[in-house]
């Protein structure tokens, strides 16, 4: 195995395949290297796929061709305690008209399809190949070696799209040698089989309509949240935990997931379903402040590898940012080929393109969100406060009512303290 390419992409996820597609369309000879037996085999997410503006540019009929599940018309947030919940939902007419605002998808299908599009454009997909080392000759990027295979793949430039832990970026010295658990989260998910009609009836959906709900207060006091998304004939249900909080909690992800699924209101939503698959993955949640060096000599970092994830609490974005960064990485490599300069300076256009895009602009805008979410009260006291207040408001039992604002202040004083309430409101206001 010793082949020469114009560029090597490590990882055939949304970032890698978008980069490979962009470069192959521009006429470059691209190797797209994937450790799974097929692209998407190793990938999991919550998840909702949002709009992909950069891919829509490349193929306008993107949404007709991609293997998607339901489009999201209804979005909800639920504050939850052990036996109560308070939910708000938005269902908008505009969410039910194309271009749709988001879809549920299965990664083993979606990622595979996107990689095949890159192959159709001329990229060479190499599966079952775990990249081992970067090959550097005379101070220049020369290619990569594959674990347990002889020889090397050579190219003057590598796109590191190998996911959140990116050992490729680490070997190039672009990311810190260790991660701060405070900037990372882990998501666990159960895929629950359920007949399509049952999902439609249960969640009030018709045609291809889908529902996406986030939960707070369902993580046993560990910082994090829950989600439930509808696919055509299955539900994705799971929890996300901040690792800094989980590791000192003594609690396990699977016990907490079981408790979540057994909470009376959640139990009713998933009852009658059958567990089909269990999956887990780490998520870079540190936001703008954890973005590593994005460019080195002969190397560009994209997607989760570059920590391009936006978790503000209400919106959870990742694949859209990954795909966008992949396209921009591809464009920067094409420009570097035209100029014949693969040095850090020659590839710096990527940083500029990314800075000018919604990817970095949004991450910058919400850069205080990760810190704001490091607040245990959000996961314990506030859900209890909200559920307790609502229960009081709706309870009619002959007892005279109290003035609501007085009651709110009294309950807030008991549960969180007024100083904390003011501080948290201020911090949320600044972060969002």
């Amino acid at each position: 195995m010793s082949k020469a390419y114009d560029a090597i992409v490590v990882g055939a996820g949304p970032a890698g395949s978008s980069a490979a597609l962009t470069m192959a369309r521009a006429g470059l000879k691209v190797a797209l290297v994937e450790r799974g037996a097929f692209p998407g085999e190793k990938n999991m997410f919550g998840g909702v796929l949002h709009r992909l503006p950069s891919l829509e540019e490349v193929f306008p009929d993107f949404w007709e061709r991609a293997p998607l599940e339901r489009h999201i018309v209804k979005k909800g947030v639920t504050f939850m305690t052990g036996d109560s919940s308070f939910s708000t939902t938005i269902e908008a007419g505009n969410f039910d008209r194309p271009p749709y605002n988001g879809y549920t998808i299965f990664r083993p299908r979606f990622d595979r399809w996107l990689a095949e599009e890159a192959v159709k454009a001329g990229a060479t997909l190499i599966t079952r190949a775990t990249v081992d080392e970067l090959v550097i000759r005379n101070g220049r990027m020369a290619g990569v070696t594959i674990l347990d295979r002889k020889g090397e793949l050579s190219a003057p430039v590598v796109v590191a799209a190998d996911g959140v832990l990116s050992f490729t970026a680490k070997k190039a010295g672009l990311r810190q040698p260790t991660f701060d658990p405070g900037q990372m989260a882990v998501g666990v998910k159960a895929l629950i089989d359920m007949p399509r009609e049952m999902i439609d009836d249960r969640f009030g959906l018709v045609r291809d309509q889908g529902f996406a709900n986030e939960f707070v207060g369902c993580t046993g006091g560990v910082r994090g949240g829950g989600f439930l998304y509808t696919n055509y004939d299955s539900l994705s249900i799971g929890l996300v935990f901040h690792l800094g909080s989980l590791r000192t909690s003594g609690k396990t992800p699977y016990d907490l997931l079981n408790a979540f699924m057994e909470q009376p209101q959640v139990d009713k939503m998933i009852r009658g379903g059958r567990l089909q698959e269990y999956s887990a993955h780490v998520i870079p949640e540190g936001g703008y402040n954890m973005i590593p060096e994005l460019v080195g000599d002969g190397i560009i970092v994209a997607g989760d590898a570059a920590a391009l994830c936006n978790a503000t609490g209400l919106n959870l974005e990742g694949i859209n940012l990954a795909s966008h960064s992949g396209v921009l990485a591809g464009r920067a490599v094409v420009a570097a080929h035209q100029a014949g300069d693969f040095s850090r300076r020659g590839l710096q256009a990527y940083r500029q393109l990314l800075d000018d895009s919604y990817v970095i602009k949004d991450l910058k805008l919400y850069r205080k969100a990760p810190h704001m979410l490091h607040n245990d009260r959000i996961y314990n006291e506030y859900p209890e406060l909200v559920c307790g207040m609502m229960e009081y408001i709706y309870r009619i039992d002959g007892a005279p009512k109290e003035n609501l604002s007085k009651l709110f202040l009294k309950t807030a004083k008991e549960k969180v303290g007024l100083k904390n309430l003011a501080a948290d409101a201020f911090s949320a206001w600044r972060a969002l």
Partner: protein, 92 residues
Amino acid sequence: MNIDEIFDYTSFTIDREPHIVLDTQVCVGCDNRGCTNSCPARCYTWSEEEQKMTFVHDGCLECGTCYVVCHRNAFTRWRYPRGGFGVAYRMT
């Protein structure tokens, strides 16, 4: 869901050679052992009587949690499995 039955839910092509190797001596001196409760697949178990950490890679979901939570860097090897081995998601 019973985590002990993970092989009924999720598919794996198990490599005989582990992709993660621990220096369990480091774990003996660890004051936290966050890996034991944080790992979503329960690959790490600590025995209080034997004062010993056991790691089994068979049901590893390759999620990265242990790599992040281990603050003693107890790994003599932490890499992804060879191509074609490890967890194989079908529809997640």
